[in-house]
Symmetry: C2
Subunit: 344 residues, 2 copies
DNA sequence: CTGAAAGCGCTTACAG
DNA sequence: CTGAAAGCGCTTACAG
């Protein structure tokens, strides 16, 4: 008959050793004779002993817990909806699991909330998704003196660990693709263009590429909400105000999804009347009709990389500053949503 | 200058009281004079004291942590991909946060892993998503004697707490909708039909409704993978083997997405050539062309309900057996993917 | 090689 | 009303 909880003390008694010895066997520390170790191991197995992390945590100040922080929408206080997040979390979870770390997912509203989360849970590290340049989150993480990794942020501070994509390059490749097809009047459909945001760099990539062909036109830059709704409404803008436009570079797939819908309602054919490219390469782009040409990123890998950056910080604090920003590659996936420009 | 960590002891010193008193003030227990309490509170505020949950946990055996368990795919060991999960988690997170609980997300592979997760982390409760009837997970949760809630399972054991949808009713309403439009040759496109699965009940709902109109035909029941891929391949089956079919009830939206694509490739028009209904009402159904008629569930509410069921168990173990299964309502959302049957 | 003891930061009877 | 002390389950010097 097992006790309500099998503790190290219980194991020690059954194995006729001290708890220190049991601890040493488990952690492979100190000198323990193989004979004793063997006995202890068998008792552990027999009683299916599982160490208590809270106790270990209290002693070692390690929680074996990473926090993943996502901002929440108001006023429903729901995690921001985004097709990426689940895939991202999936990468984080898989990688953290390999090291016996668990992940606590938290929607955060304010700097105070983040601070409480980190301190109370004794987090060993925190992954912060999509924080903006002037984010108070950064200060909180620094004050708490906890390993942190920022995903999809573009902070100038070189001390910060950041994981993102080659957004600029990816956007440029989408622009190049359309230019090669002969398009010259290209609208850019961006999410909110806050300074140093992902959208900002996608914009820069397009701007450079288009400028090289002398066809960058700032008036064709449309800012909307990064959502299907946003794309839906932007469609009216594009076809209404800019009939000369023959192609649209959408800075996210979800926006392109809305674009498709509104264009269909208006009787436009893609790509005959308008070529469209997306960004992100989420799963549904394969099933859009026509299949969306998009710049694909590996979201899950982003999560994996973030976790590795966390471990790098835990293991040594001397990670060279130059390597703290990792930009993961993206590549253009050819779909059927683009066609040669007819107005040549 | 703050110490590396502000502890209850530190606060006690600064406030000139014992740690017991500080603890009492924080937890509102014991008798403390308002004057003392006031002083303690101000010191707590001044030093921004945040209790250490690990210590509290060790003492009280409560972790203020709920586990959310999702099975993982092999061999990549990634959380199963499903458009719901993020929304589900969002509901869970929001509701748990309200009670100062955090959630640990874990991909699980085996019963052992689940057991270790529960025991080591001292979880206060666990939400298990999509476990099958003969799942070893149930035994583990029972042995660990921990509050558990199963989402989207159909266990016969009335002692288990379960949250799901009115799958049968929802499926029947989709069938009714098509019957009303005059369809009689209706194919059912199901995910894996394991006993007592969500798919199983959706199937039953359709079967009953169609049988009432004498048009249930078992040969038109197609089992496929619940994925866009699955729907894509099923399309060939339907149009190839069963040209008499005029409508398809897909047991998930994601499958309908694949169906759309293949039908488009084959030159079929929806709903002219084939009426289609989906199930779940995920966000992208609004943007499918034509908009998918689907049976919508409130996924986020499912998460909220699961958390409440967890708290019910924590607060009293006497929750009456009849109320342990909650079936949340679903309702048909009318889209443009169904039309009157032309063969009447 | 092994064990006794201190201590991590809390809560909870218990005594005063 | 307030505090001293025990104890939750561990790890870690330290002594033997």
């Amino acid at each position: 008959m097992l006790p309500k909880q099998v503790t190290i003390k219980y194991i020690a008694e059954k194995a006729n050793v001290s708890i220190a010895t049991v601890s040493n066997v488990i952690n492979g520390k100190g000198r323990v004779s193989e004979k004793t170790a063997e006995r202890v191991r068998s008792v552990i197995q027999q009683y299916r002993y599982q160490g208590n992390i809270a106790a270990k945590n209290l002693r070692t100040k390690k929680s074996y817990l990473f926090g993943v922080v996502v901002s929440v929408t108001q006023p429903e206080r729901r995690l921001k909806d985004n097709p990426f997040y689940w895939e991202l979390i999936s990468g984080v979870e898989a990688e953290a699991s390999d090291y016996e770390f668990a992940i606590a997912l938290k929607g955060i509203d304010s700097a105070e909330e983040l601070s409480a989360f980190i301190t109370q849970r004794d987090l060993d590290g925190v992954i912060i998704v999509g924080a903006e340049e002037d984010s108070s989150f950064v200060k909180v993480a620094e004050e708490a003196n906890i390993p942190a990794v920022y995903i999809d942020s573009y902070f100038e501070d070189v001390n910060l660990y950041q994981v993102r994509n080659e957004d600029e390059k990816g956007a440029a490749s989408a622009a190049k693709h359309l230019l090669d097809l002969g398009h010259r009047k290209i609208a850019l459909l961006s999410g909110k263009l806050t300074r140093n945001s992902v959208n900002y760099f996608r914009w820069q990539g397009c701007k450079k590429e288009l400028s090289a062909f002398n066809c960058y036109d700032e008036s064709l830059l449309i800012e909307t909400d990064t959502s299907a709704e946003g794309g839906y409404h932007a469609a009216d803008d594009i076809i209404g105000k800019f009939p000369e436009v023959t192609a649209v570079i959408s800075f996210s797939d979800i926006t392109a999804l809305g674009l498709y819908k509104r264009l269909d309602e208006k009787g436009y054919d893609i790509p005959r009347d308008l070529s469209i490219t997306g960004f992100d390469g989420v799963y549904f782009t394969n099933y859009m009709i026509p299949k969306l040409t998009t710049v694909k990123q590996d979201v899950s890998d982003k999560g994996v990389t973030a976790v590795n950056l966390l471990f790098a910080q835990i293991q040594n604090n001397a990670w060279p500053v130059e390597n703290r920003r990792i930009s993961l590659p993206v590549h253009l996936i050819d779909g059927n949503s683009t066609a040669p420009c007819k107005i040549l």
